[in-house]
């Protein structure tokens, strides 16, 4: 019941935060445009007045790009360097805005104020950045140990029959997803905890994240699994819709653009909803814990 209560309460909190979602959406759009717009320009100048773009009507055609020769290689190297930078900045920006988001998701309500949102983002920034970095690092290292090493061992072993690699892959990836779920809980609890503190206490927050995750494991894990399943289905839906769209005229492209941005906005809101659900569950659990703590303290 706690789970559904959290999810329901989070829906309301998320809806109240649509302006926050909007801020995140705009910043993300501006950020990636920094890379996408020069690439668009380079493509247009690469194609010049050619009609070769006819061949792109049915989708990406590598022959067309390869005919650009060195121009294409320049675009690709610009893109790969640019993507790295954009991802890095995006990661930092995300750490920044989640500060404001988690702050707004706290039990208290009230009208959304951009000022409050940004000041909470700024206040929690360092703590959130470190939490994000540490948990991301753990996720990466886990990928190496849980997926990389077993697959490398199985792949190297000459005696393992055909298909073992495939099956091992499925098993280790399942294990990895379970661990990922747990780590996301830790990260969310840590951040939900941090915004209740006056100071940046990232390590304490991570500690809290772990203890909260395992103390309330039986409610936290199913909650997170439900949340992730919803997000996964949404991701699946997006993959089904967007990549296959190939509008041929200007207005079609514009509608596709609107749709993709709407879907992305929804993605942001779904994530906020995840943060909200975890926050709400934490509040339910800690409230109960505090009362039990108080009562146990009173025994002494």
């Amino acid at each position: 019941m706690k789970i559904f209560h959290s999810i329901k309460s989070a829906v309301l909190r998320t809806m109240n935060l649509w302006k926050g979602g909007l801020i995140i959406w705009i910043s993300s759009f501006l950020l990636v445009s920094l890379l996408a717009m020069p690439i668009k320009g380079a493509m247009n100048s690469g194609f010049g007045k050619s009609m070769i773009t006819e061949k792109l009507v049915d989708g990406l055609n590598f022959e067309v790009f390869a005919d650009m020769g060195t121009a294409f290689k320049t675009i690709m190297s610009f893109f790969s360097v640019g993507l790295f930078m954009i991802v890095l900045v995006g990661f930092i920006l995300n750490a920044f805005f989640t500060g404001g988001v988690f702050n707004r998701l706290k039990g208290s309500s009230g009208k959304f104020s951009a000022g409050e949102f940004f000041s909470a983002s700024a206040k929690n920034f360092w703590s959130f950045l470190i939490i994000s970095l540490i948990i991301s690092l753990i996720i990466l290292v886990l990928a190496f140990f849980v997926i990389g090493i077993p697959l490398a061992i199985v792949g190297q072993s000459d005696n393992s029959p055909e298909g073992v690699l495939f099956r091992t892959g499925i098993i280790v990836i399942s294990i990895y997803f379970l661990l990922l779920t747990i780590l996301l809980l830790v990260a969310d609890y840590a951040r939900a905890f941090q915004v209740t503190m006056d100071k940046n206490l990232c390590f304490k927050a991570i500690g809290f994240g772990f203890s909260q995750t395992f103390n309330t494991f039986l409610s936290s894990l199913p909650l997170m699994i439900i949340l992730l399943l919803v997000q996964l289905s949404f991701g699946w839906l997006v993959l089904k819709i967007l990549p296959g769209m190939r509008p041929a005229n200007g207005s079609g492209v514009f509608y596709m653009f609107l749709l993709s941005q709407m879907l992305f906005f929804l993605k942001i809101m779904l994530k906020i909803w995840r943060y909200g659900s975890v926050t709400s569950l934490m509040e339910i659990n800690t409230l109960r814990d505090n009362t039990s703590e108080i009562s146990s303290e009173s025994d002494f």
Binding site: F29, N44, L60, E63, M68, N94, P161, P243
Partner: protein, 658 residues
């Protein structure tokens, strides 16, 4: 059980003499060589022990003093062999991985020892550490028409790092495993000006050349092994209920090589296409790919039969090696070939189909039409890739034959063209080079991709049906013989002349001198076009070498000019399509010889766009972007791609940040 063995042996040596017919009713080739081999696989020592009787017939008018044989397996002997040094010293080489063939005895048919005349030679590079060519000076020179019989006992150790041939644990692919005659080329054959053995060393980047032969091969392997070969199974005997081996006897006729594989892990499927019984061996985890493999090979059988000539054997064996035997994948031995795949290969990735169609195609291009792959790899790999790409295009999609995923589509022929046009070495050497002489790692790009791309270009010029006629004629004239590149060019010249008369000149040599024998690139481009409004005083018709379209009764007249340029060295005839704003189009032909070409028109309508080679027939053109020009290019696809890029990055960043 001994008795049955004896009977078997009697059958083996008496019933199947080299000239008898078992596979086909009549011999397909002149059978200048033949082999009878008893081979025993020892899985623990990774060796094949062989007893071989073989013959070579002197079909020339020469007195031939020696015979020459390939001992291919010696290329794996150490890291000083020619193959090893050419491939960078076999990285991670260990002695246990080495492969070799040891001659235990070598006599004539009467048991006379021939070893005193034995000597290793290195005709290509003089490398004394390379023992892949054995020359035996015979006690008496072989007179024209005479036959040399030899009896050889040998032990072949398979290499531990599979490169076409070798082993991994209990998986064996046994190829290039027995002493094999070179090809004696008499005067007039291919490029020979005097009779000589054509017996090259084993190179890193070369495959093989040999006569069509008969093979009787008796293979002894442990009972639990499934075996696939390039022959048909004549009999299978397990001599002893408690014995651990079984004996398999195979017969093959008119093929250029005999290879086989043994592995306990294979499951075996069979299917039928017209007269051909198809056997497929693959790991049991890949049973979901059985249909894909059979479908692909049947498509290829059908396509080749229709457009080139008959597949003459009543059987065919496909091997899809397991992951540990991947080094054996993608290789052809005419009636047996290896595909390439992996467990769970998605249905949109047509790698298994492509490799199967390619390797099957080699049954024609060097199996039936046994060209010299050492010396003219393009005639084998290039021609075969051209056919593979045509089949993949026709049956799996011109633009999605290789990858057919909603997000990414790539055609097989595109991959080939891209590999050529994007290679920095595309002009470093011509297509007419010995396999091992391609510099800067250009062997694959040149022999497969450039050759396939200019063959497509040839088809663009002479048309698809004429191209098929060329190959039908090539088959008719050269099947079960040894054509050279020159012989192929001559066939093209003949057929094109028959079809088109003098339309392309006295012959097509101008094409081959630029593509096959030349290093130039082809690049035609639209430099500019413009429309000038004519004022009354200018209103006179401009007579140029091009068409004039004059519209009367309209208010204004335009002088429109198209400026074209040949930016590359290669000169090919190209079509030009000039499109006017009123919807009219004019097709022009340009012989493509000049450095530039202008077309001028006077008429009521302005030019809207211009395309050189609008149907992309000239696939050699290294840049299609400059082939067309319009006043208002369609920017929508670029916008679409940019928008998708934006949302991809947004989702990606959101996905990786917690």
């Amino acid at each position: 059980m001994r008795k049955s063995l004896l009977i078997l042996f009697v059958i083996f040596v008496t019933v199947t003499p080299a000239k008898s017919q078992i596979v086909n009713k009549i011999p397909l080739s002149i059978r200048q060589t033949g082999y009878r081999i008893e081979a025993t696989l020892d899985p623990s020592s990774k060796t094949v022990t062989g007893k071989m009787d073989a013959f070579w017939v002197n079909k020339s008018t020469d007195l031939v003093p020696d015979i020459q044989l390939h001992l291919y397996m010696n290329a794996f002997r150490n890291n000083k062999t020619t193959m090893s040094t050419e491939s960078g010293g076999l990285s991670g080489y260990k002695d246990a991985d080495s492969g070799w063939i040891d001659i235990k005895s070598f006599t004539d048919r009467y048991g006379k020892d021939l070893t005193p005349g034995m000597q290793f030679i290195s005709p290509d590079d003089g490398n004394l550490n390379d023992l892949t060519v054995l020359k035996i000076v015979l006690p008496q020179a072989v007179k024209p028409g005479d036959t040399v019989f030899i009896k050889v006992n040998f032990v072949t150790k398979l290499p531990g790092k599979i490169k076409r041939t070798g082993y991994k644990d209990d998986f064996f692919f046994v190829a290039q495993w027995f002493p094999k005659f070179g090809v004696y080329e008499s005067v007039g054959m291919r490029y020979s000006t005097k009779g000589a053995w054509n017996c090259h060393q084993f190179h890193a980047n070369s495959e093989f050349y040999s006569n069509h032969s008969v093979y009787d091969v008796k293979i002894t392997v442990p009972k639990e092994y499934a075996v696939g070969t390039g022959g048909i199974l004549i009999s299978e005997v397990t001599p002893d209920v408690n014995g651990k081996n079984k004996i398999l006897i195979y017969r093959a006729e008119d093929i250029v090589d005999f290879a086989w594989t043994a592995w306990p892990g294979y499951v075996v499927y069979t299917d039928q296409w017209e007269h051909v019984k198809i056997t497929l061996l693959l790991p049991k985890e890949r049973t979901d790919q059985v249909d894909r493999q059979f479908k692909a090979v049947k498509i290829a059988l059908e396509y080749f039969a229709r457009n080139v000539g008959k597949y003459p054997w009543p059987y065919l064996t496909i091997v899809d090696p397991p992951a540990k035997g991947i080094g054996a994948a993608g290789m052809e031995y005419t009636t047996i070939f290896t595909s390439e795949s992996f467990t769970g290969v998605p249905s949109w990735y047509h790698l298994p189909e492509m490799v199967t169609i390619h390797e099957f195609g080699h049954a024609y291009f060097m199996g039936i039409l046994a060209s010299n792959e050492f010396e003219e790899p393009w005639l084998d790999e290039g021609v075969n890739s051209f056919w593979e790409e045509r089949i993949m295009g026709q049956y799996y999609g011109e633009s999605e034959g290789m990858f057919d995923h909603p997000w990414l589509k790539i055609g097989d022929k595109s991959m080939s063209r891209l590999s050529y046009i994007n290679s920095i070495g595309r002009q470093v050497v011509s297509n007419n080079e010995y396999s091992w002489n391609y510099p800067h790692g250009t062997y694959g790009m040149m022999s497969y991709n450039k050759a396939a791309t200019w063959l497509y270009t040839l088809m663009g010029i002479i048309g698809e049906e004429t191209t098929n006629d060329v190959f039908r004629e090539y088959y008719k004239k050269w099947a079960f013989r040894h054509p050279s590149g020159n012989d192929f060019v001559n066939i093209v010249n003949e057929v094109v002349k028959q079809k088109y008369g003098g339309k392309f000149g006295p012959d097509m040599n101008w094409f081959f001198s630029q593509t096959l024998y030349g290093t130039g690139i082809c690049d035609y481009k639209v430099v500019n076009f413009y429309n000038n409004k004519l004022y009354l005083s200018d209103k006179k018709v401009n007579k140029t070498d091009s068409l004039n379209t004059i519209k009367t009764g309209s208010d204004s007249l335009y002088k429109s000019v198209v400026e074209l340029e040949r930016a590359g060295d290669v000169m090919l005839p190209v079509d030009v399509l000039v499109h006017f704003k009123n919807g009219e189009g004019i097709h022009e032909s340009w012989d493509g010889k000049g450095r530039f070409k202008d077309f001028t028109y006077t008429g009521a309508s302005k030019i809207e766009w211009v395309k050189i080679d609008p149907e992309f027939k000239i696939r050699m053109d290294v840049n299609y972007i400059n082939n067309s020009m319009t006043e208002e290019p369609d920017r929508v696809p670029v916008r679409r791609i940019t928008d998708k890029l934006i949302s991809f990055m947004q989702f990606f960043i959101s996905f990786i940040s917690l």
